[in-house]
Amino acid sequence: MVDPLLAIEALTKRFGGVVASDAISLALMPGELHAVIGPNGAGKSTMIGQLTGEIGSDHGRIRFGGRDITKLPVYRRSWLGLARSFQITSLFSDFTALDNVALAVQAHSGHSFRFWRAARGEAALREPARTALDRVGLADRADTRVAALSHGECRQLEIAMALATRPRLLLLDEPMAGMGPEDSARLVATLRALKGSLTILLIEHDMDAVFALADRVSVLVFGRIIASGDPAEIRADAAVRQAYLGDGEGWEHG
């Protein structure tokens, strides 16, 4: 029996009287792609924040690779191999695509109290960055400033930056949001290529993408996991249909 890479136990967060995360428990096996879906306001962002450490938790525990990370600061979780992409594109727009990814590499190659040598000349940073760009199909855009990239390319770049930190777990926060069908298809292909070599927690609205990619799916509603299972089980689950249809958001529209 393999231990889960990420084990969330009874994770809870209240904002005033509102319970944003209500005793969430989840386990991700190594190499699995686990999708979390849920209507707007279900608490997906809060959960991501708790996992990355930007939001503290009132109760519960997060274990990652067998280690309790519930109280660790954001950057330490990153060092342990927990990477995320952002929902709102939040790259460094003054830098080139390659600079951005190289910065992510730099974050994981020792401290940065190195004051003299030009960072752009360091092969140790640039080469892994190029590799990561290549993995998401952006190699030819390496020297383009981020401000000049398209929306879809920025999302690819987000993933490249996450990959560059050599993560064990990738948290993807609605990577498809705001994308046209072509860009989405490209991203699905990228993720499919990554699948298996990485453990991925995918938070996503795009149901087609979720059911095309996920090994397991959990459904989050009002801060609670109401169902968890393989895609077929989730599709058939009455409570899930109820929650979604009640919200006026059918699978078909997803």
Binding site: S90, D99, L103, A119
Partner: protein, 323 residues
């Protein structure tokens, strides 16, 4: 010198390079001109320009590249200056002691202020740095032994045991200029190093920097301390230049002057603080020659720059972006 040329060549488009070249050549040759014409005042003025440019450069490191809008930078000028003045008064005239103390004391103060103020954001950061500087200002006023409100005359410039005679005005000028150019080179290396990338990344998106694994606070703090130390050196130079220290040199409006120099020159340009300091001080000087009320012109001019000009003089020269 080769590196210096490189850093200025690498920094962009032609009009800017031309201006940088003219400014540098002018600064290098000015003592010759002053000697020929016997214009001692020009020498004094430009020494001041060069010293304050070093202070503005250090401010620009944290403000322009690190996004830390510190409104208390004149405090370091004061601390550096008082280190020299107090030691001189107590009979320790050696520059080998005075200057390291000036730099060290500024660094320690920067460490304390930075550790407290870097926890805050935005306007709070501006306000807290301003308030701490004002605190130091009042401390200086309370130093009765060192002249209190009236300040203190320094009767002997820092002694360097025969190596450099600071009383030689030309020599002192060239020393200041050399230190400024060394400072520009240092900042250029710094902002392009790994450390510099972290600082600039934190300016652009700190949350993201933490998410990819940077403990940004400690890098910003170190940057803050480096800038403070550099400005402390400028303070030591300033005290030697004027032979005088007083609380007025760290009044909050002096911090405002330094910000103006940095913004005016263009914060993304290596030579921006120098160009800014030069423009500001020469403009001030020229205006007060033609009118009794120079600030009636200077004030609205600053307002105009704040409203309509992006990237300061460097922006006007087509500087624009740079990686």
């Amino acid at each position: 010198m080769k590196h210096l040329l490189e850093c200025w060549r690498g920094s962009g488009l032609n009009p800017r390079r031309a201006v940088n070249a003219v400014v540098l050549a002018g600064l290098a040759l000015m003592p010759v001109y002053a000697a020929l014409t016997g214009d001692a005042f020009l020498m004094t003025l430009l020494t001041r320009v060069v010293i304050l440019a070093l202070a503005a450069l250090s401010l620009n490191l944290i403000m322009g590249f690190g996004g830390m809008v510190s409104f208390g930078h004149a405090a370091y000028l004061g601390i550096g200056g008082y280190a020299v003045g107090i030691l001189a008064k107590e009979g320790i005239g050696s520059g080998f002691v005075q200057w390291p103390v000036a730099i060290g004391a500024s660094a320690v103060y920067a460490l304390a202020v930075g550790a407290l103020s870097l926890r805050t954001r935005g306007v709070y950061f501006i306000m807290i740095t301003l308030a701490f500087a004002q605190m130091i200002y009042y401390v200086a006023i309370g130093l009765d032994r060192y002249g209190g409100d009236d300040g203190l005359t320094i009767y002997r410039r820092s002694q360097f045991g025969g190596f450099v005679d600071l009383d030689n005005k030309v020599l002192f000028y060239y020393l200041c200029l050399a230190l400024l150019l060394a400072g520009i080179y240092l900042v250029w290396r710094l902002v392009n190093s790994r450390f510099g990338f972290v600082i600039r990344g934190a300016r652009s998106n700190e949350r993201r920097m933490r998410a990819i694994g940077f403990p940004t606070f400690r890098y910003k703090l170190v940057c803050f301390v480096i800038a403070g130390a550099m400005c402390g050196l400028a303070g030591a130079l300033l005290a030697n230049h004027t032979n005088f220290i007083s609380p007025a040199m760290m009044h909050w409006t002096r911090s405002g002057d330094l910000m103006i120099m940095a913004v005016l020159g263009g914060m993304q340009a290596m030579f921006g603080p120098l160009i800014g300091a030069m423009t500001f001080l020469l403009l001030e000087e020229q205006l007060s020659r033609v009118t009794e009320y120079p600030n009636l012109v200077l004030g609205p001019l600053l307002l105009f720059v704040a409203i309509y000009v992006n990237g300061g003089i460097d922006g006007l020269l087509g500087g624009g972006r740079r990686g």
